[in-house]
Amino acid sequence: MKLNRVFKAVAVASVLGLALTGCGGGGDSAASSGSDSFDKNAKTEITFAGWSLSSTPEFQTLADAFMAKYPNVKVNVKEYSADDYDKQLTADISSGSQPDVFPIKNLQKYYTYSQSGGLADLADIASTYKSDKNIDISNYELDGKYYAMPYRQDSWVLFYNKDMMEKAGVATPDGTWTWDDYTKAAEELKDKLPAAGYDANSVYPIYQHNWQSVVQAFALAQTGYKPDTNFFKAKFDYMKPFYQRALKWQDEKLTIDWNTSNTTSVQYQAQFGTQKAAMMPMGTWYAATLVKQQKSGDADQFTWGIAPIPQNPDSKTKSDKPVTFGDPTGLAVSSKATGQKLAAAKEFVKFCAGEGSAEALAKIATTPAYFSDNVAKTYFSVDGMATDDLTKQAWQEHDTKPENPVGEGSDTIISLLKDAHSSIMTETSNVNDALAKATQNIKDQGLVTE
């Protein structure tokens, strides 16, 4: 047993050493004995992982809110690197030294983690929230088991600059737009923005960020979300119309082209915040950044709003809520924790998914996973937040599909689709060829059997 652990640690270190330097340190997961039900009077300490603590207040906010409710439990927040979080966590889990509670950043790696044996089953917490319509925990279900609970659920919406659109005399989004309406508005802006006093060389109607999800995840979500029949079978035809639109926007110079955006690392925050683009699809997390930057002067002062993301014009089925995508951010509990530590860790995760912590998060303009009316009220009372009805509606009502479908091989498929995205958007390969190549590569990896 011991030898096996040493072997694994050496193996991880060797692979890490080959590709990178160093890896994260250990945590403590010393077991304490006791009954499994949470005793709020017992003195307990749990560790909780977070990243970039100075600029990401959410972790401390959650810990503080929990400690205020249960003064006998101490939550120690442990800092990880934001960029290398998954690498550090991988090293920790494989050596059995993961913190008691740790975030699962997105769904891409959730499946791999769930199979690691390092995560405790949270079925008992899931039963609390399963039928609660204010929160959606279904993304974490794997064969009836839950290894994480969401505490944040960002989703993609359309940010727009009201001042720019009104000055140019172009109608602002009304909540019923399809991507065709969006394109039309962008073309109209292209004609009218220069006359409204905006520099034609540096100001664009829209900004399409260079991430693959901005095309691929919309395509998956808005064509019925059937990953088992297309995504995991490496059939990517559903992406084609979405790529054709993305290419049209860049060819008509409605947005900064992908190449420039990628090679010069354009910051989407600057692009929208300094009024270089009038509309931008982005995740709801950007609202908090924009509020902060308008206060600090990093962003210009202008009136903005959020609209539901434009819908697929070719969609046959009408959904009552706008269909968009977004991965939840979840919290998992270490399988190494036992006794009162485990009980406290689970109670903490349960608390973070619920309304109490949601309000604490809403106060710092972070979009929680629990969307009750009270939480919405708190969120929109943040100073500097857009407060029109459409914004509120867009924030609260949506049918959000996962950005990364959960299943075996999803991280490899996503990685290969990233190459396809780069080939298509740099226009070095046409859409059909690039997607066919991705399909072939995925088959060659032995991930798809026919």
């Binding site: 694994k8 889990i93 190459d419």
Partner: protein, 319 residues
């Protein structure tokens, strides 16, 4: 062994031939000296050797094992035999990465060597302000790679970049640089050469300064011109330094990662994806540590073979 300190033995005695301790106090027997030398040697080498064993040798041996398994870094690796090696043969992305690495090395190594050697010879001559120029040439090497890549990315911008604006004076058929599958790799090579030439120049410069000036004077007296002096004096005298530079340059080129990672992230498509980055991607983006180890074995074998050839060639030349 002799017992008495006979006059005939006095010469060998100093070499520890066989004098007894009671006759020569403070002197040791040959066996004792050998043992002492051995222990001292071991004591000196142990810290380094232990580090080598635990940080290099064992991990590399483990890597040989993992390369034949399926492993997500969690649980125990599952032995899969040659499955990973079969995957390599059908993996187009791996093939792209392999040929990109070869392409990069084949262009980058001679280019850097020629420029570095040229600079070294130039800055070894009695040039005015040569200390200044040496510093300037070395400067790129000590700058932060991320910052450098950002600046070069701006320079290479196909529309607004300085490079294309300059080239636009001569031709209308401008390269797309980082946005083009054909030109992305040359752009990376240009930056890599610019960055590393100064470093190798310093190494070569140190080598040049060890060549005795008498050799040049003698050659000059014999009527050798500058070109002959370069080939008949400089190059042979520089063989040890050149060999060292070639080996480090070659291994460094095959292991290139940082530059492509920050400049192009392997793109567009897979046009600048190199082996080291592919290893990184497979391991950390796809959690497929078994297959990543297999790919890294290929990289290891590639470096090994090329280095062995260089050693063999160098030995043959020295004889």
């Amino acid at each position: 062994m002799s017992h008495t300190a006979a006059p005939a033995d006095s010469k060998t005695a100093t070499r520890g031939g066989g004098n007894k301790p009671q006759h020569n106090k403070g002197k040791m027997s040959s066996a004792a000296i050998a043992r002492r030398n051995f222990l001292h040697g071991v004591a000196f080498i142990t810290p380094n050797f232990l580090g080598f064993v635990f940080l290099m040798l064992i991990p590399v041996c483990v890597l040989f094992y993992i390369a034949n398994t399926r492993w997500s870094a969690f649980g125990s690796p599952v032995w899969t035999g040659i499955t990973n090696w079969k995957r390599l043969l059908h993996d187009d992305v791996f093939k792209d990465a392999f040929w990109n690495t070869i392409y990069y090395s084949v262009v980058h190594i001679p280019l850097t060597l020629i420029i570095a050697f040229g600079l070294a010879v130039l800055l070894n001559s009695k040039l005015k302000g040569r200390a200044f120029f040496r510093t300037v040439a070395f400067f790129p090497y000590i700058t932060s790679i991320v910052a450098v890549a950002q600046v070069w990315n701006m320079l290479f911008d196909a529309k607004t970049g300085v490079i294309n604006q300059f080239l636009g004076i001569f031709t209308d058929n401008l390269p797309g640089w980082l946005g083009s599958t054909t030109w992305a790799m040359p752009a990376v090579i240009i930056v890599a050469t610019w960055r590393e030439a100064g470093y190798f120049m310093i190494l070569l410069l140190a080598g040049l300064q060890t060549i005795p000036s008498e050799l040049y004077e003698a050659a000059e007296l014999d009527g050798a011109n500058a070109w002959q002096r370069f080939w008949k004096v400089t190059v042979p005298c520089m063989r040890p330094t050149l060999f060292f530079v070639m080996v480090t340059l070659t291994i460094g080129s095959f292991k290139i990662l940082d530059l492509t990672l920050v400049m192009t992230n392997g793109g567009p498509g897979t046009s600048t994806l190199v082996l080291a980055q592919y290893v990184y991607r497979v391991a950390f983006e796809r959690s497929d540590f078994g297959y990543a180890s297999t790919v890294s074995m290929v990289l290891f074998a590639l470096c090994m073979i090329i280095t062995l050839i260089q050693f063999w060639y160098n030995n043959a030349k020295e004889k």
